[in-house]
Symmetry: none
DNA sequence: GATGAATGAGTTTTCATTCAT
DNA sequence: TATGAATGAAAACTCATTCAT
């Protein structure tokens, strides 16, 4: 009697990942408010008190999801955009990685993100993430500038970065809503807008 | 006995506006889910059943808010960007009007919009609004192109428009979160990014 | 100016009938509880306060419906079963009239009746109606008996009458649920059950 | 510290029965619509969410009551009417058991039944129960017939059975309304009406 | 006589969260 | 560690009923 049933008494870390998997799924499907802890627990194949014991309240659980997915995304981007490339090449690779990630996790990241934006409670977490992204983008731009011997006010850099991030988010959203769309192509379009600007485009210019 | 109590037995149209005012406020403060019909009614100085009688369920009420505020915004923009101006001037005026509106209704539009994006139920309403905006922007661009004797694939136009709208929304969001920021300045920055593109900016170019 | 709009200011009695028509319809469709005064008023083409002014509360309104329809039914039966006919002929005609009525008002009588039976509030009204029916039936039987020179305890008469009425109601219910069924045939069947049983009893037969 | 508090943390099965007991009582007292889930929970000595968790919505709860009580009644009848007895004896025992049951549960079965009849939502459940009863009764009659070497059209059997059931229900109702009445006596009376009528029919007699 | 405006009071239902075992 | 049992608190929605005009 009592050979251990292969799926019980897992180490804490593993259990937590299972729960997060379940939670991401449920939150994505029904949104933050529509999701119920019951369903999360059920999908994780575990009892509710366990979820509370491991990952805390619903709010904390959501933050944990956001954090894990966000980190994964950042890593994907960072891994793609090597710092020693020229600015436009880095931007392009970053964008491609980003849209690739969003495309591959259509039901994950974009939805969580949208949810987070709607709830005051997550403002801080989001602000942190966005700051990190903006920093990265602004860093790219700054790097490029310095390479050309120029200098630009920090605020301006930040605003450009913000706008780029915003435009990108928008297209990512659009991508999440259009299952048939191609991430690669979306990245290209974004690159064109971002890099050249509307005026250039109107004149027939194309990046690459 | 005598002078009008001023706030009882009002005609339907008036009450509806009062309710919408209250609803916009409450939804903005607590978000769609955090808002309770009780509070909406209370803030409107009326009983709950009236809200249901006039504006329907919570969902419908929210849509009504979205609709009213969205329409107001569109009108503000349309009123500013006269169709006979050159493309960049129109874009500029439109942006200025937009950021002006958002700045003036800091607790209104941007928050409702964020809320709407988080809930599947409002996807349709949103899609409609966005389509109208994108059409307007794409129209501007198209107009400018034809003036120069060029033609551009419709899809490309749409994507450019989408990205612009996204970037703008992002800055609007940022504006809503930064009470001290200046709408006019934000509009200018956005214009620079949009019109010139990052590459131009990096080279020191500035619109105007 | 001011030729009277043909459908306003009707005499009270007419208005009341219109309301009752509407009410019977609504109660039949949705049941007593499912029905709303709003719908009654709307269907009667009149405002709610009028309904209250003319026919009182929802409960009173329902009683009024019950009363009118019940009276109509009783009259239909009484009109059919002339007192100078032999007992079986009278019973037969009565049954035929009853099932005919129920069949013709499939959505009226039977449904109201079922509703009334479920609500304590209508017990009195119902008891009154049933008493009248039972009296009629018992009267028929008694008449037949005396014609044969017999006499039977009143209680027994009442019970037989009760059982007959119950069986009849049951078949009426069944008829209301089966739109394709033929009232005439149902009456015949009921007659067979009722008459052969009753006849034996009347002749003094007893089981055991 | 020590002896069992006896009424806390009970196993599900037990709690469910307690809830059903409470529900039957409350539904019987106030009717389906008059009953509130609050009262059911209170009377069961438990909080409302438990009721929902175990027995579902109000409608489902009512169906559960109906089902349990109906099954008990059927069992009482089936247990009384052994299949190897002569037809009249079986009918008699069945009737006696039925009236006995109704008499013993004056506030249970008959009231639930009346309620169920008033609500469209329960039509299916009721139809099922009635079908089972009618089948049993028709089976009895059929058995008796075959014993006498006769055969009767199925439809006729069904109608006779229906009428019997209806008459019986009616007397049961009457019994539920007359607390002083004697179930045994009521059964006897019903038997007289039913048997003398049915016996004639079984012998091939027809009115007209 | 007639009605649009208004509401008090109540209902069902859901959920995050926690004991007791 | 793990869970079935349990709940407090609230929220959306409905309806019979009545003023004030």
């Amino acid at each position: 009697m009592s050979s251990t049933p292969a799926f019980k008494r897992l180490p804490r870390a593993v259990r937590e990942q299972q729960m997060l998997d379940a939670a991401v799924r449920v939150f994505s499907r029904h949104g933050y408010h529509g999701a119920s802890m019951d369903e999360v627990a059920e999908r994780a194949g575990i009892s509710k008190p366990m979820v509370y014991a491991y990952l805390g309240t619903k709010e904390e659980l959501f933050v944990a999801c956001l954090h894990r997915e966000g980190t994964r995304m950042m890593e994907a981007i960072a891994g793609a955009a090597a710092p020693d490339l020229p600015a436009d090449e880095r931007l392009w690779r970053g964008l491609r990685a980003f849209f690739g990630f969003v495309g591959a996790h259509r039901d994950g990241w974009a939805v969580l993100y949208r949810q987070a934006r709607a709830e005051r409670a997550f403002a801080d977490e989001l602000a942190g993430m966005r700051t990190r992204i903006v920093e990265v983008v602004a860093g790219m731009l700054d790097h490029a500038l310095r390479a050309e011997g120029r200098e630009v006010a920090e605020t301006d850099l930040e605003v450009v970065a913000y706008a780029l991030v915003g435009a990108t988010e928008s297209l990512a959203d659009w991508l999440a809503d259009h299952p048939e769309a191609d991430p690669e192509k979306t990245a290209t379009r974004m690159m064109n807008v971002a890099w050249l600007g509307a005026a250039q485009l109107l004149r027939g210019a194309r990046w690459r």
